[in-house]
Amino acid sequence: MNAIGTEPYIILSMVLFLMGALGVLIRRNAILLFMSVELMLNSANLALVAFAREWGQVDGHVFVFFVMTVAAAEVAIGLALIVNIFRERQSINIDDLQQMRG
């Protein structure tokens, strides 16, 4: 059953995490930025589940359920904020968010 060890999962989750982090730093569209953040959260979820299997516990799985719930709440708020900013600016490019400087 444990034909695949824990390491490949962790390496995959780290790759996903880095992709998400780079996405946040490079992308300029608010929705893509937001998707990158979600990718980071899910990479942490993958790591948690893999670790839970390694330890033979349910703690990690429970953690993942809470993270998913929180991420859902975050999606609701985040999309509302994006709609809000689009109404004000007709743009969701975060480089346009420059009204305040100094």
């Binding site: 962790i10 989750s13 995490f17 998400g20 982090a21 946040v24 608010a30 930025l33 937001f34 953040v37 980071m40 959260l41 990479s43 942490a44 979820n45 790591a47 948690l48 893999a50 670790f51 390694e54 330890w55 516990q57 703690d59 990690g60 429970v62 953690f63 809470f66 993270v67 929180v70 709440a73 975050e74 708020i77 985040g78 904020l81 994006i82 809000n84 900013i85 109404r87 004000e88 600016r89 975060i94 968010l97 009204q99 305040m100 100094g102």
Partner: protein, 497 residues
Amino acid sequence: MEFDLWAQLPSVLPEIGLTALAIVVLFADCYGSQATRRNVVYISAVSMALLALVPLIWLPDPALYENGALLWGGMVNYDPLAQIFKVMLLLGGAVTCVLAAGDKGVGDKGEFYLIVIVATLGGMMMSSASDLILVFVALETLSIPLYMLASFRRGDQRSAESGMKYFLYGAFASAIMLFGFSLLYGFTGTTNLAAIADSMNSLGDGLVAVMAALVMVVLGFGFKIGAVPFHFWTPDVYEGAPTPVTAFVSVSSKAASFALLLRFMTAVFPADLVIAGVVIQDFWINLLVVISIISMSLGNIVALRQTNIKRLLAYSSIAQAGYTLIGVAALQGENPDLAVASVSFYMFMYIFTNLLVFGGAILFIAKTDSEEISDLAGLNRRSPWLALFMTIGLLSLGGIPPTAGFFGKFFLFQAAVNANLVGLALIAVTNAIIALYYYLVVIKVMYVDVGPDDDVAIGIPRVYGWSLGITALVVILLGTIIVTPIYNWATLGAAGL
């Protein structure tokens, strides 16, 4: 272990009360009559102030926390530290509600108070959390409402922009922190903060993974408290958010994060944790010392050239986070109790001080529609009380006796010197002198400068004036006669760590 509900209940009583209050406020706002809806602000403020009495009076039995007993299946710490921060957060929330009451587009909407209550609930859970799962959930219960609050003013571009920025940076920081948590869990097989340290100690290797987790967690905390180099969101969010929200963000999120930072660092990375010959505590102490020094210096120097009062207070709050980190770094010494007490006392006085300054600013901005410091000219003649309250607050931020800020800084520096961080204390003193300059400039503008609207009086609504007055009184009392009892109470907080 047998589950004894009545012994465990007091540890979450304020949270239960707050949840009930949130439901009451929600229904009162949805289905209540006009008169009820107008009174939502008083229902929220008075109930939160009354709930603050519960942790204030009902101190936990030392037998419960001295041997590290945890309640609710290891999720909740019931110790004086959590109680102290719960009192702070509840009082901060109550004052915020009153200060927001008159603000058009913010305080006249009932859901504002609901969101403030839920955010306070998250902060309270943070201050007592002792498990990674609860830490994460509590952190987000605090953060998500704050994103909403920052963009609360409809049809205001700056408010929308501020909420968006806060959300994107905040979600990014908590994702990084969560990955750090998953590493900690993967490495130790437990989510309980105290058990993590034991497990890491017995494993005794995996230095790189522990360091990576540590850096990720510090990054998350650094973001929440607004310390350099994770401060870039602070000025924009502070300037763009509605002013009552700025006041709330600057005190509640910071106090809850410092409570959690103290607990997290002492529990997960304690002094006796040595991995592959490296003392982990030395590493994070040095990290925090560096963050503290650059936060203080950068915050104060950039604040010097600000012309907008909210941006000035934003940079001042970055510097204040730097000062408070001194207390956390002082955990390294022989006397960690002093460090914990100094951080708790500093946050206690900071909440009242900052709410006082922001309270003055909220009224001024609402009446004159200007956020420029130069427009404060002649405030003494327009509203002597408002000028006096703001002066007390600014002097306290600057650390001048007889205000609370003096003792706040005094205890921090004392803790630093006790922990052999004399150099850090000296840098902090130098910084405090620089900071004094820009606080005094604002006071000078209010009292000496002559403005075009000098004869236009600014009226203070009665309830608003009284709450500002009481806050100012607390700031003065904390700097004079109630210093000793509050500091002794804060010292108790160290016992449970």
